[in-house]
């Protein structure tokens, strides 16, 4: 089992606005940096779909190990934005 299997992905599907037809979003803000400590439930980033802003809560408490989609970058619905290593 590799060390990466312990990481928790920051998902976007369940945060997608219900009435959005668009399947591409853009990350507007990260509120935590790679290597930073995050608390489960705290908003760690914000993305926009069809001009609607959505906050993404941390799915676990731990270290934000890797940001996969940076600020102003686009991603598809279902893409993972980051990985957290639980504390």
């Amino acid at each position: 089992m590799s060390a990466n299997d312990d990481r928790v992905a920051v998902e976007t599907s369940d945060r997608w606005p219900d009435d959005a037809d668009e399947t591409v979003g853009v990350v507007v803000n990260w509120f935590a940096a790679e290597g930073g400590h995050v608390e489960e439930g705290d908003a760690i980033c914000e993305f926009q779909v069809e001009k609607v802003s959505v906050d993404v809560p941390a799915p676990a408490t731990g270290t934000l190990e890797e940001i996969a989609v940076g600020e102003d970058e686009e991603f598809k619905r279902g893409d993972r934005l980051a990985w957290i290593r639980p504390a």
Binding site: V28, N29, F31, G36, H37, E46, K51
Partner: protein, 348 residues
């Protein structure tokens, strides 16, 4: 620098950064929880959360009695805020764009700013007037002004202009707790909105707990030995970018963010000029009869001998154009600041 005063000793706190709008909202929410007399009135501040996110999320927590959408009558609701303040409440009234002040100016500068004096001190007016300011996004001449100089000129009200999330929160706490009227101008480009991306810089680490930044304390955002740049709001970040570019050429620039125009921390500015000898003042407001002239005069009055050179960079005295290349031409850019810094050193 101020934003490094963050308390991270516990190691338990999340390492979070906030946009400027979220930092402002956090301070307002904290004050509203602590004090039932604090409430917020404005156009589109309830369901919409403020067109520049200045009240995002507050309606859900505090409800419609304390987060109030008002009809489009600035005279009516700013006047109502003045009355509520005189009766002991702590209203925050939002002027959606500072450009709209004209229709309510009597309430602002004759009532809000002067009632304490006109009543012989029998009432005071502990309110905050928030207003979105600034251009750079093609909203034309009636929605792009800063009007820093207009408001700073009129006595009886303090004037706050934050440039970072850390400063925005501490200054907002101080504004709401102040027993006299405070005008709190937030630059749209700094708020961190998706459709109006901020430059790098305004999003900073912000402590969870409340803290105040006293008015009249300028912040040296970058230390340098050769040239002092005094500025505020969006142009703090443009000046910092110019300073970084010039560092490669061996020019060491100090950037002073005044943070409040009233009161103005002339001491920090004079101390910096005494060190560098060269002063560049950068302002997004109109050039004539404004912030640049006032700051240069306040330095010259007390320390003329320290001044080897002076430059000012401001908006030329024209209505701000709608067309993108024309707006970019008139609003001071990083290159304009860089050029002024180079020029001021040529005056030795």
């Amino acid at each position: 620098m101020a934003q490094q005063e963050k308390d991270d000793a516990s190691g338990q706190q999340a390492d979070r950064s906030l946009t400027m709008s979220r930092a402002m909202v956090e301070a307002i929410a904290h004050e509203m929880r602590d004090n039932n007399e604090v409430f917020y009135m404005g156009e589109d501040v309830a369901d919409y959360g403020g067109i520049f996110d200045s009240t995002e999320g507050l309606l859900e927590e505090f409800g419609r009695d304390r987060i109030m959408d008002v009809p489009i009558s600035e005279t009516a609701y700013i006047g109502a805020a003045v009355g509520a303040a005189q009766e002991g409440m702590r209203p925050i009234a939002e002027l959606m764009f500072v450009d709209f002040f004209g229709v309510a100016m009597d309430q602002i500068y004759n009532q809000m700013a002067k009632n304490t004096y006109m009543s012989g001190g029998s009432v005071n007016v502990p309110m905050v007037l928030t207003a979105a300011v600034g251009g750079t996004y093609n909203d034309a001449a009636q929605h792009s002004q800063t009007l820093y100089g207009t408001f700073a000129h009129l006595p009886g009200m303090k004037l706050v202009v934050p440039s970072t999330a850390y400063d925005a929160k501490g200054l907002m706490h101080n504004a709401i707790r102040d027993d006299d009227p405070v005008v709190y101008m937030f630059h749209k480009r700094l708020m961190g909105i998706g459709w109006l991306p901020a430059p790098d810089g305004p999003k900073t680490a912000v402590p969870d707990e409340d803290y105040t930044i006293p008015f009249g304390s300028a912040d040296v955002k970058r230390e340098g030995a050769d040239v002092t740049v005094v500025t505020l709001g969006l142009h703090v970040h443009r000046a910092l970018e110019a300073a970084e570019n010039l560092a490669d050429d061996g020019i060491d620039v100090e950037v002073v963010d005044v943070r409040t125009l009233v009161p103005l921390d002339t001491e920090t500015i004079r101390d910096s000029v005494a060190k560098t000898g060269h002063l560049v003042v950068v302002d997004e407001d109109y050039r004539s009869y404004g912030v640049t002239g006032e700051i240069i005069a306040s330095v010259a009055e007390a320390g003329l001998d320290d001044l080897k050179g002076v430059e000012r960079v401001a908006l030329p005295d024209v209505p701000i154009p709608y067309a993108r290349p024309m707006e970019d031409e008139v609003i001071p850019g990083t290159d304009d600041i860089t050029e002024a810094i180079r020029a001021v050193r040529g005056r030795e």
